[in-house]
């Protein structure tokens, strides 16, 4: 399974599919009056707009790193093409240094590196930029798994209640009672390492929170007069769920998606630190932070890899959280 998701064409296809679904969600939501009011509020929220713009830049960079085209007997990404002339050195070099980082045998560098190089001589700046793809792929794949799952089960539990609710509650209580990190590691070890596997593991463990949230909101909405009216008019359960309930809980899904995305990016770093994350050769902030374990104890200390990865991660996670807060404010019914 991991191998299938790790194929380039699958990732490209899923990327386009993800962007398409996201666009469809926005377009369909824009017809909803509540969404329109939220959109108007959001346009006036400077913090929200700035953080949204930063997220868009990350997404764009990630998408450009994912898109590959044929180049010299192989393929190269758009971002990779920009960095095609950046040389690979023999080992560490400090930012803008002229030689490798070694007091015993410093070697002249083939080029200058804005943020230095890592243990294998790869340019840290290029690695930091290229790692946006890993965050994008992971966040996108995982959301594509856990959001439909959590939303569907939440609505079914909240709408049908009785034995349906009992079963779904039982399942998510069981999933939530297993220590998450152990479950993640176990799934990844069984399915073998890979970005696809990591997404599957995070997706199958991450839907519980959203499911609980949507279940509660659906129960609340089900008591509203518009649902009673739809029932009185003889509409089918499917129609009530898709046409009435789903649009009224989608704002929660959107907020959860944005805030959950930051958690997924951090989870990648955590899992990589534990040795079950991104595979070898992947540009990833998690791998850079993991490598820094030994780099920080070096003398002289190698600080640039950790710093670059931390700032990149911090920028994305902070922006996602601020944007999520802005969305929550925009959709808040008490806002008046």
């Amino acid at each position: 399974m991991s191998g299938f998701f790790d194929q380039l064409w699958v990732q490209n296809a899923l990327l386009f599919l993800g962007f398409g679904l996201f666009a469809a969600l926005i377009v369909s939501g824009s017809r909803n009056e509540r969404w329109q009011r939220a959109g108007r509020y959001l346009r006036g929220d400077r913090t929200g707009m700035v953080s949204g713009a930063i997220i868009a830049i990350y997404l764009l960079v990630g998408a450009l790193e994912t898109l590959q085209f044929p180049y010299q007997n192989g393929t190269v990404s758009v971002i990779g093409w920009f960095f095609r002339n950046v040389p690979i050195e023999s080992t560490y070099s400090a930012p803008l240094a002229a030689t490798t980082l070694s007091t015993s045998d410093p070697q002249p560098l083939k080029g200058r590196h804005l943020l230095g190089t890592d243990a294998l001589g790869k340019d840290t700046f290029a690695q930091t930029i290229r790692a946006c793809r890993t965050a994008l792929i992971l966040g996108g794949f995982t959301s594509a798994i856990y959001i439909p799952l959590g939303t569907l089960l939440g609505i079914l539990a909240g709408y049908y209640r009785r034995w349906v609710d009992d079963i779904i509650q039982y399942v998510y209580s069981v999933v939530a009672s297993v220590p998450e990190i152990l479950l993640l590691v176990a799934i990844i070890i069984v399915l073998e390492k890979g970005l696809g596997t990591m997404s599957i593991a995070l997706g199958t463990t991450g839907w519980v929170g959203l499911c609980r949230l949507i279940r509660g909101e659906t129960m609340r909405q089900s008591e509203r007069p518009y649902v009673a009216a739809a029932r009185a008019l003889g509409q089918s359960h499917w129609r009530i769920i898709t046409r009435h309930l789903l649009p009224n809980v989608m704002h929660l899904v959107l907020i959860n998606f944005v805030l959950g995305f930051s958690g997924l990016v951090l989870a990648e770093a955590t899992l990589t630190y534990l040795g079950v994350g991104s595979p070898i050769g992947t540009a990833s902030w998690g791998i850079m932070i993991d490598g820094a374990r030994s780099e920080l104890s070096r003398e002289p200390v190698v600080w640039w890899n950790l710093t670059a990865a931390t700032f990149a991660l911090f920028g994305l996670v902070l922006s996602l959280n601020l944007f999520g807060d802005a969305l929550r404010r925009a959709f808040d019914p008490k806002r008046g």
Binding site: S104, I280, S297, R298
Partner: protein
């Protein structure tokens, strides 16, 4: 005095009272503050009034088992070695070639070849060697070591419940082992030590025994230098059963530890403290008379240190504190502060310690630190699966891959450039190692490109697909360093224009793949020798040694190699054996079932008070040979850890200024 103080405290005004109490509390808490992480020595002075000398050492993990017949990993052996002496041992200063010397035996056993092809070794135990004093013996006094204890150890190797990892290996050679094991299996896996004797160990008198081998096996002497054949006392094994007994002072039930966690040996030290996950503490065995410091074997430049110790009673120190450090950084920091006596230089501390000329940097040379180079008896390589339809059938392709790989970068990244590039399978110091031999398929990219074209893949392109040849490389990548190294190997091999796909595996999964032959290339493979003999290296490529029972994970099969190996394995060292070892090396290099990488080596830093007195990496620690000058250590520790007092007044001034500003702001707001 106490009354006066209390009265005075009671007389103080409201604000002063809590302040004074806080100062007292602070002073009380600070009395325990110092930066020495080592616990106090077991004793302050020896019985004769001389100072008690402690050696501080470190290891990276907790032990798994201290049962001599079971323990195989180097960490457990490091703890076992000071406690449990072996029949023979490695000479501490002889590494080129390695040499054995008697330990519990009076001399190296003499060999007799019998007409029926069997071999006998006559072994005489030294007299007057006693087991450690322990409650398992009557009145807690250790009894004398006798030949029956050796027989009991060999019986334990046959006991299915002991699960000795080398039982099958030795059963092939020591007469009666297979029969004893089979008898135990027929008896429901229960080994009856009274009736199931091993005929291969024949006691001639209380201190003499004869070891009968079914066929010539000169390597048996190396096994005698390992703990598997070390004698243990049956009383200790029976006593430490892990069950509750009425051992309490008032007859209450107390659980005894298992024997595998409570070794009772004849070695130079006894374990007196084991804080799980933190440290072992060994204290000198007062009755130890088995060995003394050697009188020769070291080069001239070591005369100043080793000369005065010649013939000296062992151990040289009274106590060894062996700390368990799972991270490298604390080890380096403690060495820098003088709280560890020896440090194996890792890549993270390399740049600050080692200069351009591969000596110590002036900062640490001025401190009096010394640098030693330690080469382990090991060889690491990248394995090719000889049964793979692409790699296994194409010798030129394997040679091309070997030529594409530059081990120097690998060594620079992981071992600070200190480990020697492996030019051959045998490591330095092993009989048959050729100092001047150069691998014709060592790194040479031009040659590699030529060879891959001859192999049928010009520029690395597979003519069948028109795409770069795709090869899968399996590896374990459990740490960032392993991941970096796998990526390095991938990049090196891809210089030929091929595509190398790296598959990361857990350690267990990797072993499974190796056993099943389910890989094309396996990175990170290698061999740390059990003993320094060519047989212990070349057996890795003998076709009789295929997995799952053997270690030939490459599944290399060459009748000529097999024939020569069989002949060489049972020979004593001789010019003829040397010639065969060379021929075996040539065959392997030409067939190229692996890409040779490096022999593991590193720099060791010793403190000015603890010069290196043993250099043999076959010893796991060699604590009994280690020495310390405690007075110099104390002096240097004081110098290196001088406390800077200026931060205290600065911090107090800052706090007062901050408080003053807060009060000022508060008053302004409230006015």
């Amino acid at each position: 005095m106490k009354k006066v103080c209390l009265l005075r405290l009671a007389e103080l005004s409201g604000v002063a009272r809590p302040c004074l109490a806080a100062i007292w509390l602070l002073a009380f808490l600070l009395t325990g503050c110092h930066n020495d992480p080592n616990p106090k020595p077991w004793r302050e002075k020896r019985a004769d009034g001389k100072p008690w000398v402690v050696r501080y050492a470190s290891m990276p993990e907790e032990v798994r088992s201290l049962d001599p017949q079971v323990s195989y990993d180097s960490i457990s052996r490091m703890v076992l070695e000071p406690v449990q002496d072996c029949l023979l041992e490695y000479a501490p200063m002889k590494i080129d070639p390695y040499e054995l010397q008697p330990c519990l035996l009076e001399s190296i056993p003499s060999r007799t070849m019998n007409a029926d092809g069997t071999v006998d070794y006559l072994c005489k135990l030294k007299r007057g060697i006693f087991f450690h004093d322990d409650p398992c013996f009557p009145r807690g006094k250790g009894r004398e070591l006798v030949a029956a204890d050796v027989h009991f150890s060999i019986q334990r190797l046959c006991d299915p419940k002991v699960e000795s990892p080398i039982s099958a290996n030795l059963a092939e050679y020591i007469a009666g082992m297979t029969e004893a094991t089979d008898a135990a299996k027929r008896n429901g896996e229960r080994f009856d030590y009274a009736t199931m004797k091993v005929s291969g160990v024949e006691a001639l008198d209380s201190h003499t025994f004869k070891l009968h081998l079914l066929k010539p096996y000169p390597q048996i002497l190396y096994w005698m230098a390992m703990h598997f054949m070390a004698p243990v006392a049956q009383e200790a094994v029976n006593y430490y059963d892990g069950l509750p007994h009425a051992d309490g002072s008032r007859g209450e039930m107390i659980s005894r530890p298992l024997f595998r966690f409570h070794p009772v040996g004849t070695g130079p030290f006894k374990i007196v403290e084991w804080v799980r996950g933190q440290r072992f503490r060994f204290v000198r065995n007062e009755n130890y008379r088995t060995t003394v410091f050697p009188s020769e074997g070291w080069p001239k430049e070591r005369d100043a240190v080793n000369g005065p110790l010649a013939g000296h009673a062992l151990p040289l120190v009274d106590e060894v504190q062996l700390g368990i450090f799972r991270e490298l950084l604390p080890m380096w920091l403690l060495t820098r502060q003088g709280y560890l006596d020896r440090f194996a230089v890792q890549k993270d501390a390399f740049n600050s310690l080692i200069s351009a000329t591969k000596g110590l940097t002036p900062k640490y040379a001025d401190r009096g630190l010394k640098l030693e180079k330690a080469v382990e008896v090991s060889t690491f390589y990248i394995s090719f699966n000889q049964q793979d339809p692409v790699i296994g059938t194409n010798k030129k392709l394997r040679q091309a891959l070997s030529c594409a790989y530059n081990p120097q970068g690998f060594i620079d990244i992981l071992y600070g450039g200190v480990a020697p590039i492996a030019q051959q399978l045998l490591s330095p110091g092993v009989f048959g190692y050729q100092k001047d031999f150069r691998n014709p398929y060592a790194f040479n990219l031009e040659k590699g490109r030529r060879l891959i074209a001859e192999a049928g893949y010009p520029n690395g392109i597979d003519p069948a697909t028109g795409q770069p040849l795709k090869i899968t490389m399996d590896t374990t990548a459990n740490s960032s360093a392993e991941r970096q190294l796998a990526e390095y190997e991938q990049r090196q091999l891809e210089q030929l224009g091929i595509h190398v796909e790296v598959v990361e595996n857990t350690f267990a999964r990797m072993l499974e793949k190796e056993d099943q032959g389910n890989f094309q290339i396996a990175a990170g493979t290698g061999w740390g020798a059990d003993y320094p003999d060519p047989e212990n290296y070349f057996f890795l490529f003998a076709s009789s040694n295929f997995p799952p029972t053997g270690k030939n994970i490459n599944r290399y099969k060459n009748p000529e190699f097999d024939q020569l190996f069989e002949k060489m394995a049972s020979m004593e060292n001789s010019p003829e054996r040397l010639e065969i070892a060379r021929k075996l090396n040539e065959i392997l290099i030409e067939d190229c079932p692996m890409v040779l990488n490096f022999h593991k080596a590193y720099f060791v830093v010793t403190q000015p008070w603890s010069p290196e007195t043993q250099v043999n990496m076959m010893l796991e620690g060699g604590f009994k040979y280690m020495t310390v000058d405690p007075a110099l250590r104390e002096q240097k520790r004081r110098e290196w850890n001088a406390v800077a007092l200026w931060p205290i007044p600065v911090a107090i001034a800052l706090v007062i200024a901050g408080l003053g500003y807060a009060v000022y702001i508060n008053r302004r707001r409230n006015v």
